[in-house]
Amino acid sequence: MAYTEEELKKELETKEYEYGFYTDIESETFPNGLNEEIVIAISKKKGEPEWMTLWRLEAFKYWKEMEEPEWANVHYQKPDFQAISYYSAPKKADPNKTLDDVDPELLEMYKKLGISVDEQKKLQNVAVDIVMDSVSVATTFKKTLAEKGIIFCSISEAIKEHPELVKKYIGSVVPKRDNFYAALNSAVFSDGSFCYIPKGVRCPMELSTYFRINQAGTGQFERTLVIADEDSYVSYLEGCTAPSRDENQLHAAVVELVALDGAEIKYSTVQNWFPGNKEGKGGVFNFVTKRALCEKNAKVSWTQVETGSAVTWKYPSCILKGDNSIGEFYSIAVTNNYQQADTGTKMVHIGKNTKSTIISKGISAGKSQNSYRGLVQVNSRADGARNFSQCDSLLMGNECGAHTFPYIEAKNKSAMIEHEATTSKIGEDQIFYCNQRGIDTEKAIALIVNGFSKEVLNKLPMEFAVEAQKLLEISLEGSVG
C-alpha cells in the first residue's frame, strides 16, 4: 500500500542487524581491567621490543591523567574501563600464516559477511589484512606487493620487522596524549595494519583491512599506520562489522596517515559495527581518531560510509602542512533507531595554497541523532588557502535529529572559505511518484537515499561502492508487509 509517514517509521524500525551471528572460535582472553601489568603483558604477549613497551607505558601514564571528553552531541553511559578485557586473540592464529593456515571456521565467517578472503583474492585484486578481535589473521598478496617494495602487514609484524619505520612515524600524526581514546589506544592497541609505499611507487591494487569484534566483553583497539613515501600512491579500504550483543562493546582505533612530498593516499571506510537493537540496547561505542599529515604537494582523501555503531565519535582529519597540499573528506553517516553519531573532519591549513574539500551527507531515521562537526582552520602563514564545505542532511520521519556544527578559524586574509548546508526530508510525494512507476516503498527509499549520497558513493572504489549501497539499503529498510 502507499506510503504514509507512520508506515515509513514502522518500516525503518523493523530492520534487524544482518550480521548478527557469533562464530565460535577458541580464543585466549586476558582478565578484565587495565593497569601497568596488563599493558606490559600485552606487549610481552606480542613479543615486542622494549622501546615499544616503554612507549605504551608512557601512553598509559598520560591516559590515567586524562578525562573522557564530553563535548560531543552524544549521550551514553560511559564505559567502565576496568570491566573490559584488553586482549583477545584467536588461539589458532599463526605468525607465519598463509591463507591455507587460516582456521576454516574463520573463513566461513568471512563468507557469511560476503567478503571471503579467497574470493577477494581471486576476483577482486584486493589485498586483505584481517583483524578479528585483536590479532591480524591473514594477509594475502604479500608476495606481489613485496616485488614492488611495498610493505603491507600487521602492525605487530611491522614493529618487529621494520622497527625503524614504525619508530619514526607511530604517534607522529596522532601523539600519544592527543586525546583520551588515542592515549588508551596507544597503551593497549592489540593489532592493526601497517603499510609502506616506497618512493615513486604506485600501489597496483587496493589494499584492504577488515576489522571485526567477535569476543564478548572485549574492546578492540586497532592501530593503523600508512606511510606513502614521496610521489607514491595508495588506495586503502577498511571495513568493519561486529556481531549483535546486548552489552555495549568498545572500539577505539587510531589511524595515522603520512603522505610525504607529492604522495597521494585514498582512505575509504565502510563502518558497519553493530548499532544496537531497535530499543537502543547494545551496540558498539566507536571512538576513533583518524588523522593524516600532508607534506608538500601531497593529497589525502578520506571517504567514509558510516552506518553502524550505537555511538560514533570520529573526525578523520588532514594536517595540510606542505605547500600546495590537498585534503578531502567525503562522508555518508546514517543513523537509525537510537543511534547517535557526532562525526566530521578537521582541515588544518598550514602550508601555502593548500586546498580542502568537505562533502558530508547525514541521513537520520528513527529516533536517532546525527551531528556533523567540522573545523576549517587557516593558519596565519597559509596564504591562498581554500576550502569548500557542503553539509547536507536528510531526515526520515519526525523523531530524528540532524545537527551541523561548523567551526571556521581563519587567520589569513587571503583565505577563501565557502560553506553550504541543506536539510531535506523524504516526502510522501516522492515516494508516491516512485510507487506510481512500479517501484515499491522500500526500493524507493533506497533510490532516494542513494541519490542523496551519490557524490560520496562516487568517490569509493567500484567494489566498495556496491557494498556501500547495499549497506545503506540494509540500514534503512525493513521488509514491507
Binding site: 502507499a2 511518484y433 506510481q436 512507476r437 517501484i439 516503498t441 526500493k443 533510490l447 532516494i448 541519490g451
Partner: protein, 250 residues
C-alpha cells in the same frame, strides 16, 4: 479496460468525488475537462492508488479486476500510468537510472529477469528519439532544475518506456510551448494503439487539437455532468463552463 462505478472519494473528510461513472475501452481516447477544483486531479490520483485520498464508495476495475486492495506499485505493474501535473524532483537519481529501476521492478513483479543492458539502451535510444529528447538530458537528476516543458516531456518519455495499458495525462499541456506541445502530442499519438487507452485531463481545448479524443467528459463538483464527442470540447471553449454549471444547478 477501465471501469469506474459510482466512485466517491474524500480527502481529509471532505468529499471531492461524488459518484463518478466512466468506462474506457481499449483503443479509446477520453478527455476529462472541467473548471478548477472540479476533482479532475483527484480522479487521476485515486485511479493511481494514492492513499492520501480515501475511497468511500464505488469501485475501479482494470481489465475486470477490482483495484481496491491493489497497491500503487502493483497498479503500475498492471499497466496504470499517471503523467503527473507536478512531477517531483529526486536529486542524484538520473532519468536513466530511475527508468531502469522502474522497468526492472515491473519485470520482477512479473517473474522476469532484469532487462539486459543492451536492450535497455536500445529502448532508451528509440523512445528518446520519439520524443526528441537530447541524450544528455537522460543523465540529469530526475526533474531537478528541469523547465516546466522538460518535466512534461520527461513524463511522456517515461510513459513511452513503460508502455502502459491505461495512461492518464494530468494537465500535460500546461507549461508547454507550442513546439513542445506538438512533440509531446505526436509522441502520445504514436504510442496509441488498439490495445491501450488514454485519459487526457485538461483545462483547454488546445491539446485536443493535437490528440483527438473519442469522448469528452465534463467534470463539475465531483461528478461527470456532461459527456459527448470531440465537438463538446469546442463548445466548451466557446461558451466556457458557466452554462453547464447553470444547467446542472437546475
Amino acid at each position: 479496460m477501465l471501469k469506474i462505478k459510482d466512485l466517491h472519494a474524500n480527502v481529509d473528510d471532505k468529499e471531492i468525488l461524488k459518484g463518478i461513472n466512466l468506462e474506457v475501452k481499449a483503443g479509446e481516447v477520453h478527455a476529462i475537462m472541467g473548471p478548477n477544483g472540479s476533482g479532475k486531479s483527484t480522479l487521476a490520483s485515486v485511479i493511481a492508488g494514492n492513499e492520501h485520498f480515501e475511497v468511500t464508495q464505488g469501485s475501479i476495475e482494470l481489465s475486470g479486476e477490482d483495484l481496491e486492495e491493489v497497491s500503487p506499485e502493483e497498479r503500475a505493474h498492471k499497466g496504470v500510468f499517471l503523467s503527473f501535473q507536478y512531477p517531483v524532483e529526486i536529486p542524484g537519481v538520473s532519468v536513466t537510472n530511475f527508468m531502469k529501476t522502474a522497468i526492472n521492478e515491473s519485470r520482477k513483479a512479473k517473474g522476469l529477469e532484469d532487462m539486459p543492458a543492451k536492450d535497455m539502451l536500445k529502448l532508451i535510444r528509440e523512445k528518446s528519439e520519439l520524443l526528441e529528447i537530447d541524450r544528455k538530458f537522460l543523465s540529469r537528476s530526475l526533474n531537478e532544475g528541469f523547465s516546466g516543458g522538460e518535466k512534461k516531456r520527461n513524463e511522456i518519455f517515461q510513459m513511452a518506456m513503460l508502455e502502459p495499458k491505461v495512461a492518464i495525462l494530468d494537465e500535460t499541456d500546461s507549461g508547454l510551448d507550442i513546439d513542445a506541445l506538438r512533440i509531446v502530442a505526436s509522441g502520445v499519438n504514436k504510442l496509441k494503439s488498439k490495445d491501450n487507452a488514454v485519459i487526457l485531463i485538461t483545462h483547454y481545448q488546445r491539446l485536443l487539437e493535437y490528440i483527438v479524443p473519442d469522448f469528452v467528459h465534463v467534470l463539475h463538483n465531483g461528478k461527470i455532468v456532461k459527456s459527448g464527442g470531440k465537438e463538446l470540447a469546442l463548445e466548451l471553449e466557446e461558451k466556457g463552463y458557466d452554462w453547464l454549471k447553470q444547467e446542472t444547478a437546475v
